[in-house]
Amino acid sequence: TTWPNTDCFSEVAYSQSTGQKEQLSRCLQRGIRRVQDLCKVLQLPTVFEETAVSYFQRALQHPSFHLVSLEKKELLGGCCVFVTCRQHNWPLTMGTICSLLYAKQELFASVYLSLQKELGLSVPALSLGDLVKTHLNSFRLFQHAADVPAPFVEDKEKMVARTMQIVELASETWLVTGRHPVPIVTAAAFLSWQSLQPAARLTCTFTRFCKLAGVDLPPPAHLRLKELLEIFLRMASQLAWLRVFNMDKKTVVKHIGDLLQHRIFLLKNAFCLEDEEEHRAVALGEGSPRSPPAAGGTAQEEGCPSEGKRQREGGARPLLPPCLINPRKRLRTAAPSTSDSAITGNEPISDSEIEQYLRGPEEIRAFRKAKAW
């Protein structure tokens, strides 16, 4: 077949001429259009759009997605865009996609996990470095504005560089694993901003900073800030010229620049790294008689038997995730007793034991009245 312009007999693809495209179901067409719109809103490269659409088509053909609800199909499109971004190291968070789709995060999560499994997609982890750059793009503090005091405006490159360093430090000190990434970046951005001009900015609170910057302050960010400050304080205790000062979480901010510069050395001295064989052997040797203190438990034993001295001096502690430093009260019951393990499952069951679970006639009458069945 040819086009109406008969000057040139150009070859036309079969799919274009026979209306094969029109045979795509309306649902699929709508879904594809939605995926494309999403890519345009996020200003993604064209190549992403093609990949996301192809994932979407593959997914919809899959038996597990073919018959799911329309709501889920809508989320499926978002998941495909999300996966594509991740595979290209484009730092798109689930939070962003969910808000664009007005989706419940649990539902999005289940569709995403199914998609990953059914299509066998390998999705690389979210790159924190890229997330820092993208997240800081939305901060409003890099240009002068009416509502932003002059000393609050900051150079973007400087802030990105320092925030990156703080996020890396957080990662090395176990503050990142298992946690939501965005609150960490927000807290790091705040500290980096404050430390670049502490004189003018120390009085500004985290909440005010986020408002001025025009970004959300997610609830975990306060805790991340606290944890970061604690790390910096410990590092400060190892810097000779800072030991004379009584550092607190306000004053340490002034020295973050120095602390970051010497972080490798400081980390090594401020925390005992628990990965040494001798330490573990010693710890296991004297494991049982030593009753674990309230914080840290066995992990602390493993880490620092020989660091005890330094612990008392410089406040060094094992480099561990916060959940191991401050363990929550254990609700778990003790291991099963010997009597429990002697159960065969075939024990005789007494009538009286069963009868305790049955209502007497008066009780039934009273219950009936109350329930009005």
């Binding site: 689930m94 992990a299 959940c323 159960i343 065969t344 209502r359 219950f367």
Partner: protein, 312 residues
């Protein structure tokens, strides 16, 4: 009046019950729902069996069951040998042991169901051999049983103290007993789910007690096809784990999305167990039909976690 305790004579049978082959909500401490289908088996470095294929849901034992319609006759025949096997606490299902050349008795040929010969387990009875020295603790067992009679749930809720029934919310009676501390979901079809026990035997004992309650309420409840559907265990390797690194080196088995869930979800192929691995070093293992799978899965993951810790 005394009800004959015919429940104690019923042996365990390995029958796939289709309503319960779906994944039941698993009570883990983190309250996560996940499916147990897996990708194609990948090459895993193992130092035991060469056989890397999945265990199909229908095993040789199930084929035996499918031959006869009435479960009761089978029960009496297999009673003798099976009750012996029930007492072995750790390795219960011989067909899941990893030696590829083992010949199983073939029931189709003989026409009569032979007693199951307990085979000597290849792996040592104590799961903590020379490797980790850590034994995962069982936290929850989910089992199902068929009471084989239609039940009037309203009636049960009226006459039993330990029952909850909100038909608008859920179409089953929720019943609890104190010892073993468990919860049961009892459906009008006569099917029952028992959750919360800490061992297979406790789960069975609890299920029998629920069946007894139902019997005492006047229903002709039996105790058919008791089956352990899922087992959950947990333990602590006692060192922190860099999940972001683990997901890189074991990408085909791992899913780590801190935006969704703080733990790494590791889908082990052999045995077919799902592990939740947390930064604290705590590990949850689930999806097992037998406790040997939990122990085996942990022994498999421990060197990975340990070797990983050194490298980081």
């Amino acid at each position: 009046s005394e009800f004959k305790d015919d429940l104690s004579a019923s042996p365990q049978l390995f029958t796939p019950m289709s309503p319960y082959d779906v994944d039941l909500p698993i009570q883990t401490t983190e309250d996560v729902l996940f499916g147990s289908q897996f990708n194609q088996p990948k090459e895993l470095p193992t130092d035991f069996s060469v056989d890397l294929s999945f265990l199909p849901d229908i095993t040789q034992d199930n084929k035996e069951q499918n031959l006869s319609e009435d479960g009761d006759e089978m029960q009496k025949e297999l009673d003798g040998s099976i009750s012996r096997n029930e007492d072995s606490s750790i390795f219960m299902d011989e067909s899941s042991l990893s030696y590829p050349d083992a010949t199983q008795p073939s029931p189709e040929a003989s026409g009569v169901c032979p007693p199951l010969t307990p085979m000597t387990p290849m792996t040592p009875v104590t799961p903590a051999s020379e490797s980790s020295g850590i034994v995962p603790q069982l936290q929850n067992i989910v089992s199902t049983v068929n009471l084989a009679c239609k039940l009037d749930l309203k009636n049960i809720a009226l006459h039993a103290r330990n029952a909850e029934y909100n038909p608008k919310r859920f179409a089953a009676v929720i019943m609890r007993i104190r010892e073993p501390r468990t919860t049961a979901l009892i459906f009008s079809s006569g099917k029952m789910v028992c959750t919360g026990a800490k061992s297979e035997e406790q789960s069975r004992l609890a299920a029998r007690k629920y069946a007894r309650v139902v019997q005492k309420l006047g229903f002709p409840a039996k105790f058919l096809d008791f089956k352990i559907q899922n087992m959950v265990g947990s333990c602590d390797v006692r060192f922190p784990i860099r999940l972001e690194g683990l997901v890189l080196t074991h990408q085909q088995f791992s899913s780590y999305e801190p935006e969704l869930f703080p733990g790494l979800i590791y889908r082990m192929v052999k045995p077919r167990i799902v592990l939740l691995i947390f930064v604290s070093g705590k590990v949850v293992l689930t999806g097992a039909k037998e406790r040997s799978e939990i122990y085996e899965a942990f022994e498999n993951i421990y060197p990975i976690l340990k070797g990983f810790k050194k490298a980081s």
